[in-house]
C-alpha cells in the first residue's frame, strides 16, 4: 500500500501575494525598529548625561548659569589633594567590599536554611525579598529611626539586656555611622543574593547531592567540596550585582547621614551631589562622579568574565 501523490499537488504557499513583503518580513528593518525605543532611552537618559559629565568635569561650569569655560585637568588636580575626596573614595570601596563580604556569607547560609523544607517556608521566602523590594527612601527612613540618638530600638534593647553601658550615638560618631550604613547596605542586598543563590542551589543536580551522601561526605565536606564550588559562579554573579548596587548607591548614605558626621561618611555619589548641585560647582561635582567609572568598569569586566565561565564550565 504505497503512498500516492495526487496528480497535481499544489505547492503550499503563504497566503500573501508574492512580491508583497511587509515590514514584519524584513529583518534588517524590523530589528533596529524594535530596538529603537530602548536605544533612544539609553542614549538620552544615560548616554547624554554621561558625556555631559565628562565635558563638565573639564570645565568650571556653575549650576544655575550657562557659562562654560575649559579648565583642563584642574578639577582633577584639586581633587587629588583634597582629603575629603580621598575619604569618599575610601568609603565607597569600603562599603562595597565589606558589605558584600558579609552578604556572601549571610546569603549562602540563608539559602541553605531556606533550601530545607520547613513549615512556613513559602512565607519566609516572600518576606525575605521585602528589604530589597521596598523603596529605598522608605526603608532608609525606618532605619533613621532605628539608629536615632534618643529612640534607637537597638540601644534600648541592648541597654535592657545589660550589653550597653554608655550610649551609642549612631550618626554622631564616624565609626558608628559607618557601621549603620553598612548594616543597611547588607540588609538591602542580601535578600537578592539569597534568592540568586537559592536558584543556583536548585540547579545543582539532585543526583550529585545524593552521590555525595552515598560517598560518605558529612555536612561540612558536602558544603565546601560539592555545594560551594558548584555555586561559585552563581555566588559571584550575585555578589557582583551587589557590588554595583552599593558602589552607585546614593540614597542610603544621603538619607542616613548626608555624608556626615563631619563629611566622614561621604561616598563618591553623595560628594558629587554635595559639591556639584548643593555647592553649585558642577565641574567639580562631575569630576568626583567620574571617578566611579574605573571602579565600575573593573566590576563589569569581572562580572562578564565570571558569567562566561559559568556558561562554559561545569
Amino acid at each position: 500500500m504505497a503512498l500516492r501523490r495526487p496528480a497535481e499537488a499544489p505547492f503550499l504557499a503563504p497566503a500573501v501575494r508574492p512580491g508583497r513583503r511587509t515590514v514584519a518580513d524584513r529583518e534588517s528593518i524590523l530589528g533596529p525598529l524594535l530596538l529603537a525605543p530602548a536605544l533612544l532611552y539609553v542614549i538620552l537618559l544615560v548616554g547624554v548625561p554621561f558625556f555631559m559629565a565628562i565635558l563638565l568635569s573639564f570645565s568650571s561650569a556653575v549650576a544655575g548659569g550657562l557659562e562654560f569655560s575649559w579648565v583642563g585637568f584642574r578639577n582633577f588636580q584639586v581633587l587629588l589633594s583634597d582629603s575629603q575626596f580621598h575619604r569618599a573614595l575610601q568609603n565607597t570601596l569600603r562599603f562595597m567590599l565589606v558589605s558584600q563580604l558579609l552578604v556572601m556569607v549571610l546569603a549562602t547560609a540563608a539559602a541553605h536554611v531556606l533550601d530545607a523544607a520547613f513549615v512556613g517556608k513559602r512565607l519566609v521566602r516572600s518576606l525575605l525579598l521585602l528589604p530589597w523590594a521596598a523603596p529605598v527612601a522608605l526603608s532608609s527612613m525606618a532605619w533613621v529611626w532605628i539608629f536615632d540618638s534618643t529612640f534607637s530600638v537597638i540601644n534600648w534593647t541592648a541597654k535592657k539586656l545589660g550589653l550597653l553601658q554608655g550610649w551609642w550615638y549612631w550618626f554622631g560618631d564616624p565609626g558608628l555611622a559607618t557601621v549603620a550604613i553598612l548594616t543597611v547596605h547588607v540588609w538591602r542586598t542580601f535578600p537578592f543574593a539569597t534568592v540568586v543563590i537559592l536558584a543556583g542551589m536548585s540547579a545543582i543536580p539532585q543526583e550529585i547531592k545524593e552521590a555525595a551522601l552515598m560517598d560518605g561526605a558529612g555536612f561540612w565536606r558536602r558544603l565546601f567540596h560539592v555545594n560551594l564550588p558548584m555555586l561559585l559562579p552563581v555566588v559571584a554573579v550575585a555578589v557582583l550585582f551587589g557590588l554595583v548596587f552599593t558602589a552607585t548607591d546614593f540614597s542610603v548614605v544621603w538619607l542616613l547621614t548626608r555624608g556626615g558626621p563631619y563629611n566622614s561618611t561621604h561616598v563618591l555619589s553623595t560628594l558629587a551631589f554635595q559639591r556639584g548641585v548643593l555647592g553649585a560647582s558642577l565641574g567639580q561635582g562631575a569630576a568626583v562622579a567620574i571617578f566611579l567609572l574605573p571602579i565600575l568598569l573593573v566590576v563589569a569586566v569581572l562580572l562578564l568574565r565570571v558569567a562566561r565561565r559559568a556558561e562554559v564550565g561545569a
Binding site: 543526583e207 551522601l213 552515598m214 560518605g216 565536606r221 567540596h225 558548584m230 564550565g313
Partner: protein, 352 residues
C-alpha cells in the same frame, strides 16, 4: 539470612503506593537484578536500600544489621552508581574517585595508591587528570564505577548504569561488568528496565510491577517458567504470544517455539494452528512473522513467530500456513488473574 533482607517493605507517596509490600532476600555475592517497567517501584526500592528514601513501613537488613530507621547511607557500607553517573563536574577524575576516601579521612598516600589501583581496574589511569566534561560517556561510566569500587563496599547498588551508553558499547560493558562482579564477589543489586540486560547479567532476576515483585528466579526460570502473564510478556522480545483458549484459560507460547509445521518431525507432539500471515520482517538473524490465527476471531494483536534464518521455508504475506508449537512449550494462565495454572504458587522467598 541473605546479605540483604527486605521484609514487607512499603513506600507510599500520598495515595501512590510506589512499593507495595516487597519481600526480598539477596544472597551474599550474587548479582540480583530488579527488572520492571518505568514506575514499577524498582528505583524506589533501591533508594530505600541506599538510605536516600525512608520507608513508610517494613524492615531492611544489610549484613544482619537493621538499617531502615536511623542508619544514614554512609554507615551502610554501600556504594551506588547513578544512571547519570553523578560525577562532580568541578573535580578531576582522580579527585572524583578519591572523594569517598577523603570522606573517610585516609592518609594522602594511601588515597593515591587506592585511586590508582581502582583506575587501573577499569583501564582509565591515563584519564585521571581530566575533568568529566573532557571524558566520553563510556569513560565517565568507568570513573563512576571506579569511585564505587575504591571503598571496598560490601554492597553495590547500580541504577541503570548502562542505559546512557551507545547500543554497541552496551554488550561489551555488560560483559565487563559481569566479570568485575564475579572477580570482586561483591553483593550487587542492579536496576534496569531492559530485559536483555537483566537476562545477561543477573544471577537472579526479580520482576516487578506496580510496587510488587511478581517473580524471582534465575533467568532461565523467569523466562521458561513465568509466574503470570506479566512476567511472561515482559521477558522475551518479541513477547510471548497469548491466546484466549476458552473463557477461563489463556495459552501462551514463545515466538521462537512457533514455527512452520514442516520444520517439526511428523511424530513430534505439537499443537498446530493456521496462521494467516500479515507481515514478514527480515531481521538478518531471524524472520519475524506477524499474523492472525484462523482459529481465533481476534484481529487486534497479532501472533508472532520468530523463524531463525537457518529455516528457509518460504513465507509470503497474505498466505495461510500451518504453524505448530511443541506441546511442552505451552504455558497456561488463568484468564481472570493472569496467574500461571500448572504451578502451585509463586516461589516463596522466606522459609516461614
Amino acid at each position: 539470612m541473605g546479605y540483604v533482607e527486605i521484609r514487607d517493605l512499603h513506600k507510599h507517596f500520598g495515595d501512590v503506593r510506589a512499593v507495595n509490600g516487597v519481600n526480598l532476600s539477596v544472597e551474599e555475592g550474587e548479582l540480583l537484578v530488579l527488572l520492571g517497567p518505568s514506575g514499577c517501584g524498582k528505583t524506589t526500592l533501591m533508594r530505600m536500600i541506599a538510605g536516600l528514601e525512608v520507608p513508610t513501613s517494613g524492615e531492611i537488613y544489610i549484613g544482619g544489621q537493621r538499617v531502615d530507621e536511623n542508619v544514614p547511607p554512609r554507615a551502610r557500607g554501600i556504594a551506588m552508581v547513578f544512571q547519570s553517573y553523578a560525577l562532580y563536574p568541578h573535580k578531576t577524575a582522580f579527585e572524583n574517585i578519591a572523594f569517598p576516601l577523603e570522606a573517610m579521612r585516609l592518609a594522602r598516600e594511601s588515597i593515591r595508591e587506592r585511586v590508582v589501583r581502582s583506575a587501573q581496574m577499569f583501564g582509565i589511569e591515563r584519564l585521571l587528570g581530566r575533568r568529566p566534561r573532557q571524558l566520553s560517556g563510556g569513560e565517565r561510566q568507568r570513573v563512576a564505577l571506579a569511585r564505587a569500587v575504591v571503598r571496598d563496599p560490601k554492597l553495590f547498588l547500580l541504577d541503570e548504569p548502562l542505559s546512557n551508553l551507545d547500543a554497541k558499547l552496551r554488550a561489551v560493558a555488560r560483559f565487563e561488568l559481569k566479570q568485575l562482579q564475579r572477580q570482586l564477589g561483591t553483593t550487587t543489586i542492579y536496576v534496569t528496565h531492559d530485559q536483555v540486560e537483566a537476562m545477561g547479567l543477573g544471577d537472579r532476576i526479580a520482576v516487578m510491577d506496580a510496587g510488587r515483585i511478581r517473580q524471582i528466579g534465575k533467568p532461565q526460570e523467569v523466562y521458561d517458567d513465568p509466574a503470570d502473564t506479566f512476567v511472561a510478556t515482559f521477558l522475551g522480545s518479541p513477547p510471548m504470544n497469548l491466546i484466549e483458549q476458552d473463557p477461563h484459560t489463556i495459552v501462551g507460547f514463545r515466538p521462537e517455539a512457533f514455527l512452520p509445521r514442516s520444520v517439526f518431525d511428523p511424530a513430534e507432539d505439537v499443537v498446530t494452528y493456521s496462521l494467516r500471515v500479515r507481515e514478514v520482517e527480515y531481521l538478518g538473524s531471524d524472520r519475524l512473522v506477524y499474523g492472525f490465527l484462523e482459529e481465533e476471531q481476534r484481529t487486534d494483536q497479532p501472533v508472532i513467530a520468530a523463524v531463525p534464518a537457518t529455516i528457509t521455508v518460504p513465507i509470503a504475506e497474505g498466505e495461510v500456513y500451518e504453524f505448530a508449537v511443541p506441546r511442552r512449550a505451552l504455558r497456561f494462565f488463568d484468564r481472570n488473574t493472569g496467574r500461571r495454572l500448572e504451578r502451585a504458587g509463586i516461589v516463596r522467598v522466606f522459609p516461614t
